[in-house]
């Protein structure tokens, strides 16, 4: 399954709305390519890309830490 396809499937998760409070419209506009204003969506992309680009968990986490502290 392609990374983008996985991303689209993840965007269907209820938790994005119920826990993270992301609107349906924002989810509909979310794209795997390009940047999103939403940190959670970006973290999800980091996880996906981490596997696609064979990054270590530590490297991925550091990237996430940077995003959340910004």
């Amino acid at each position: 399954m392609e990374a983008e396809q996985i991303f689209k499937e993840l965007m269907k998760s209820d938790e994005l709305q119920t826990h993270f409070g992301i609107s349906k419209e924002e989810l509909a506009d979310a794209s795997y390519v390009g940047d999103s204003n939403n940190t959670t969506i970006e973290i999800i992309k980091d996880v996906i890309k981490g596997i696609a680009n064979r990054k270590s968990p530590n490297v991925v986490f550091q990237g996430i830490l940077k995003k959340v502290s910004d």
Binding site: M1, A3, Q5, I6, E9, L10, K12, S13, E15, L16, H19, F20, T40, I43, I44, V47, I48, G50, I51, A52, P57, N58, V60, F61, I64, L65, V68, S69
Partner: protein
């Protein structure tokens, strides 16, 4: 992606004596049939494919797979090995995958030296693109090219040996179908992402702990709460690991249960029948022994002290004997009197019993006249009886001998009449025993037939007990592991609750921003991890649902026209995450007792649905290669398969004997001829070969020839 096999060629490989050119099968898209009688090379051709793909061959004697390196002797053509001290044995397959042609040749140079064969294997792979041939030298790349023929994940479905269909690895190991579905959906990347998300949660937790530790001003209460939280989390983590371990063992136990289940009831029946058979045999032996004893006892009965059967029918003889004896006595007495008239009472006058009889009967037997009691003749007889007489000489006098004999036989007068009845009773008993023995022999024979029906020749008592023990042990393990999982789950629930409370208390007390931010990240990463897991589960379930739909369509098409309803296939996701395929009836109850044909149909339907499954825009177009998939199938099933197979498989290569007719000039039966006609008329795509032997020989010396009936 997909593969098309153009041809397979064999050289001095089992029955396939001669060069590659002598033994080449050329295939088309559609259904390619190699129709042959037993021992005519079907399984050997299948072994050709196995050798190329897996360096293995299937031994139909042992019914198991062997590495080729252990089988070269058996694989070598017997005829070629008798004619040569050096020869080459091999298999070559030509196939196309994604526009690239590959020619794979696995060969062994065989050399006879000092009475033993030496083997020198080699593998050659040639790739052709844009009409340019390129040998592939690197071993790994050779392996990759061979895997283009059929990928490892698909091999268990694309390569089927009919006898092993019921033991398809994937369907008997609960994990197996799960692995295949993962491969089909190509969600291995997603599975890795779930793993990464899990790791990131751990890292977020470490970060959170680090921030907490930085806060040196934490009160004892906070420290205590942290410790409590950390302990609970550790316990929960350990418990989850234990649950995971228990789940793995549960899966293994379920596989064992499945493995033994099919044999369990047969083994149990066999043990019970063996016991019953032994009991019935013991009864039969007892009856036979009783009869033998009765028959042996006849000797003692013939010469029994009180009732000797040898005297049967001689009841009147003692009386006759007595009358004869008296008559003789009279004659002798009269003779002696006439010879010696002086003697009134010769020595051999009537004896005492006779005198007593005369007195009793009041009749003188000497003079043959009446001698009433008290009369002079009677008193004379009495006087003679009571006279003092000389001691009898123990001479062998005639009268004494027969007197003695009469004395001796006198006592049997009462018992001789009973002999007939005694004999009749004896014979009735013998006849009765004969009837009982005959009836018992029938019972024993019936038990033997029952034993044969449950396959007594295939299994010893020890093997059957092992199955029962294995099955029971598996069931016990399943019960234990379920209990263990339940126990730990219960504990986790309690600890979870305590953990939530501890965290809440901690949150109230730990107000610093870095700690809060770190905790928020930790919480969010847990939710993200859950999202990845549930997405994987959702996609997996979607694949399973699609497979179920496709498999039922195949199953329905394969079984149409059959008078029995074969049920509906369900793919159930179990608690342990594995997938179980079962057959249910109209009411949703699990259906048991389907015949072997239906069981194979179920397997074939699942295989076909997996092979033909589409995910997104991808489809799997690998050849379906099967040796004897149709034993236990009726023509109806086979016909249904030939109808739907072209829609499922781009190419199938099937080795069968079900269309063979040795009495026919073309060695094909009516159904086979109909298929050939359809192929030659373009109504059915494919090819039709028949294997035969020019000269009759045993299995080890047979040389297979072939003929292609399609244009």
């Amino acid at each position: 992606m997909g593969t098309f096999i153009k041809s397979i060629s064999l050289q001095n490989f089992y029955n396939y004596y001669g060069s590659y050119e002598d033994n080449t099968y050329t295939f088309k898209e559609g259904i390619n049939i190699i129709n042959a009688d037993n021992n005519m090379g079907k399984s050997k051709l299948y072994n050709g494919f196995l050798w190329i793909l897996d360096d293995q061959v299937y031994d139909s004697d042992d019914k198991r797979y062997y590495p080729v390196s252990e089988s070269y002797n058996k694989m070598m053509s017997k005829k070629a090995s008798r004619e040569n001290v050096e020869l080459d044995m091999g298999v070559t397959i030509l196939y196309e995958s994604e526009g690239v042609w590959y020619k794979v040749c696995k060969e062994v140079h065989c050399k006879l030296e000092d009475g033993s064969w030496l083997f020198f294997p080699s593998t050659n792979v040639l790739m052709t693109t844009d009409n340019e041939d390129m040998p592939i030298m690197d071993k790994q790349k050779q392996q990759d090219a061979i895997r283009m023929l059929i990928p490892a994940d698909m091999e268990k479905y694309a390569l089927l040996q009919g006898e092993s269909m019921e033991r398809l690895v994937d369907l008997s190991t609960l994990n197996g179908l799960e692995n295949t579905i993962n491969a089909l959906a190509d969600i291995n990347n997603l599975i890795r992402m779930c793993g990464l998300a899990s790791e990131l949660v751990k890292q977020a937790k470490q970060e959170y702990n680090k921030e907490e530790t930085k806060n040196r001003g934490a009160s004892n209460e906070i420290l205590k709460l942290r410790e409590e939280r950390d302990n609970l989390e550790k316990w929960i983590e350990d418990a989850n690991k234990k649950i995971e371990l228990a789940r793995q063992e549960l899966i293994k136990a379920k596989e064992k249960e499945q493995q033994y289940e099919s044999e369990f009831f047969s083994s149990k029946k066999r043990i019970q029948l063996r016991h019953e058979y032994e009991e019935e045999c013991a009864k039969l032996d007892s009856l036979k022994r009783e009869k033998a004893e009765q028959e042996l006892s006849i000797t003692s009965r013939l010469f029994d002290e009180n009732c000797p059967w040898i005297l049967m029918g001689l009841g009147n003889e003692t009386g006759d004997f007595d009358a004869n004896r008296i008559e003789l006595t009279k004659k002798i007495t009269a003779q002696e009197i006439s010879q010696n008239p002086q003697i009134l009472l010769p020595d051999d006058s009537p004896d005492a019993p006779s005198l007593r009889r005369m007195l009793e009967h009041e009749h003188c037997e000497v003079c043959d006249r009446e001698a009433k009691k008290g009369t002079a003749p009677w008193l004379h007889i009495k006087k003679v009886l009571e006279r003092p007489h000389k001691e009898m000489r123990t001479s062998a006098s005639f009268m004494q001998f027969y007197s003695g004999l009469q004395n001796a036989t006198g006592r049997y007068e009462a018992t001789i009449p009973q002999i007939k009845e005694s004999f009749e009773q004896y014979m009735n008993h013998i006849y009765d025993l004969d009837d009982q023995i005959e009836a018992q022999e029938r019972i024993v024979e019936a038990k033997e037939n029952e034993l044969t029906l449950v396959g007594i020749e295939n299994s010893t008592e020890e093997e059957d007990r092992k199955v029962l023990s294995g099955y029971n042990q598996a069931k016990q393990t399943i019960s234990n592991k379920n209990e263990e999982i339940q126990r730990w789950t219960g504990k986790i629930k309690i600890w979870d609750s305590a953990l939530t409370k501890a965290k809440e208390e901690l949150d109230k007390r730990q107000g610093s921003t870095p700690i809060r931010k770190a905790k928020e990240l930790y919480d969010n990463m847990q939710v993200i991890k859950t999202m990845f897991d549930s997405t994987r589960e959702r996609i997996f379930k979607s694949i399973v649902d699609n497979l179920q739909t496709a498999a039922n369509e195949m199953y329905s098409d394969l079984t149409k026209g059959n008078q029995t309803f074969g049920g509906t296939l369900t793919f159930d996701r179990l608690d342990d995450g594995t997938v179980r395929v079962s057959v249910i009836d109209y009411q949703g109850e699990e259906l048991y007792g389907n015949g072997t044909g239906f069981q194979r149909m179920k397997q074939l339907a699942i295989v076909m649905s997996i092979i033909s499954s589409k995910v997104g825009n991808k489809s799997f177009d690998y050849p379906f290669i099967s040796d004897a998939p149709f034993s236990e199938f009726s023509w109806n099933f086979m016909n249904n398969f030939f109808e739907i197979a072209p829609n499922v498989f781009r190419q199938s290569i099937i080795m069968i004997k079900d269309l063979y007719d040795p009495a026919d000039d073309n060695l094909i039966n009516e159904h086979g001829k109909a298929i050939v006609e359809q192929m030659n008329n373009g109504l059915l795509q494919g090819s039709f070969y028949v294997n035969y032997a020019e000269t009759r020989a045993d299995a080890g010396n047979l040389v297979t020839k072939k003929y292609c009936y399609t244009k």
